[in-house]
């Protein structure tokens, strides 16, 4: 049963990462695409809490870092998504209270995730990014993630709820 769950989660992450580079470039605005993997991590955080989401964020981030055509220093998206998973998990009780709260949580997660990625790039100077370019890309990324939230988040949350192991009643 655990193996089946792991398989489903692996499949979801793989599809998120692949669609991000293969399908969404056709819909991209100025090259910026929605970050599907981030939405999956946020959905898991809202359902399963910070520990699970941080671990999932690490795996998903590493997949983005290593899958072609990525060429940046590996581990940068992993770091960003670990933090996103943990933070989203911490606020999950507030974020699940209403649809607006969930969307705000996604927007905040997207902002934090992309910003950590950009800042780590500035620290490592990999690649060299002018601050103006970063300021231009981050808001578009946040808007894109929010636009995609109604389509992806409920679906993913239902999936993670079904994958949750049954809890023992006290």
């Amino acid at each position: 049963m655990i193996a089946a769950r792991a398989l489903v989660v692996t499949f979801v992450i793989t599809m998120a990462v692949v669609l991000q580079v293969s399908l969404f470039p056709y819909l991209a605005y100025d090259g910026v695409v929605p970050n599907l993997a981030l939405l999956v991590v946020v959905a898991s955080a809202l359902v399963r809490g910070p520990e699970f989401a941080a671990a999932l964020g690490f795996i998903a981030g590493l997949a983005i870092d290593l899958a072609p055509p990525a060429d940046h220093i590996a581990g940068r998206w992993a770091l960003a998504l670990v933090v996103v998973g943990y933070l989203a998990g911490r606020v999950r009780h507030d974020a699940r209270s209403s649809a607006i709260a969930a969307i705000i949580a996604v927007a905040a997660s997207s902002f934090v995730g992309t910003s950590i990625f950009v800042l780590s790039g500035l620290v490592l100077s990999d690649p060299y990014v002018p601050a103006v370019e970063a300021l231009r890309v981050v808001p578009v990324a946040v808007i894109f993630d929010v636009l995609l939230t109604p389509f992806v988040l409920p679906l993913m949350m239902r999936l993670f709820r079904r994958l949750e192991p049954h809890q023992v009643a006290y």
């Binding site: 692949v18 100025d30 964020g57 220093i73 590996a74």
Partner: protein, 300 residues
């Protein structure tokens, strides 16, 4: 079960360990440089993800033309359901035939550029593009080492220079586009044969531009001057004589000795599809090399 208790503080240990793991990966990759221990992992993941990306790209490619035919649907809204259904299937056919026709035209262009430059090309399709959030302009193509594609080979299409191969797996390869902020190409002005260095700005959209620094500060590039590659030893990473772009503006600043020009690349990087990788005429490849017979061995 304590993990699911909503009132309990989540464990910091897990977070700490995962953060540490991320930093370890980053450090390993930064310190290792070209011989990074992450590199085998990267190529393993590339081998795994390459085929999946290839299949996804094949599935989604017919939908590439979808935004184009929304323009004609407005007038059809009042039509009968039957007509609409029929129309939908016809439009589907039309869309794919448009894509096919464009691709045939691109292939013709590629054939032509192979015969005009004299280079042997391995044809390849772009199957994945890096997002702008990653700030590096890279694409994945569906040809790898089994097709004779290796790092440091020139990539072009029927319009001009696209970039160079930076990493190759068995079935896929990663191409660094010339608009990437870390890409530097040696260029030569078509009119004066003066040389200079072209740097990308990291933007791939319609305003994707390149900056040209000329070596000789006495030369002023003319408007609409064509820039071609200057070429390197043994044709790696760039072969010579491939058109890159057109001069759109020239300026000089007191801070810098040399004149600078802004170059508009000939290639449209937001709609890259069919590209060619310049290989040796007698390279081993599992697909047909374009122009292999016409290229004489000494041209490289």
């Amino acid at each position: 079960m304590a993990m699911h208790d909503p009132h309990k503080q989540p464990s910091r240990t897990v977070l700490g360990l995962l953060l540490l793991a991320s930093f370890t990966v980053i450090t390993l990759d930064v310190r290792g440089d070209d011989f990074s221990p992450i590199e085998p992992l990267r190529s393993a993941v590339g081998e795994a993800f390459g085929p999946v990306e290839e299949v996804t790209a094949t599935v989604v490619r017919p939908f590439e033309a979808v935004p184009g035919f929304f323009a004609t649907t407005g007038s059809l809204r009042e039509d009968l359901d039957r007509l609409e259904a029929e129309n939908a299937s016809l439009r589907g056919d039309l869309a794919t035939s448009v894509v096919d026709r464009n691709r045939a035209a691109e292939l013709d262009g590629l054939l032509e550029s192979s015969s005009s430059t004299g280079y042997a090309l391995v044809p390849a399709r772009v199957i994945a593009m890096g997002p702008a959030q990653a700030f590096s302009r890279t694409v994945t193509i569906d040809a790898g080492t089994s097709s004779g594609v290796f790092p440091d080979l020139t990539v072009l299409n029927n319009d001009g220079l696209v970039g160079r191969v930076i990493r190759a797996d068995r079935g896929t390869a990663t191409v660094l586009l010339i608009v990437d902020a870390e890409s530097v190409v040696g260029g030569r002005l078509g009119s004066s044969m003066e040389v200079g260095f072209l740097r990308g700005r990291g933007q791939a959209g319609n305003e994707g531009r390149l900056d040209l620094d000329l070596v000789d500060n006495a030369v002023t590039p003319g408007q609409d001057d064509i820039l071609v590659t200057w070429g390197s030893k043994n044709g790696a990473p760039y072969v010579s004589g491939v058109p890159i772009g057109r001069v759109t503006a020239v300026y000089s600043s007191p801070r810098q000795l040399s004149k600078q020009a802004i170059i508009d690349p000939l290639v449209d990087f937001s709609s890259l599809d069919l590209v060619g990788v310049v290989v040796d005429g007698d390279a081993e490849s599992d697909r047909t090399i374009i122009g292999a017979k016409s290229a004489t061995g000494g041209r490289r």
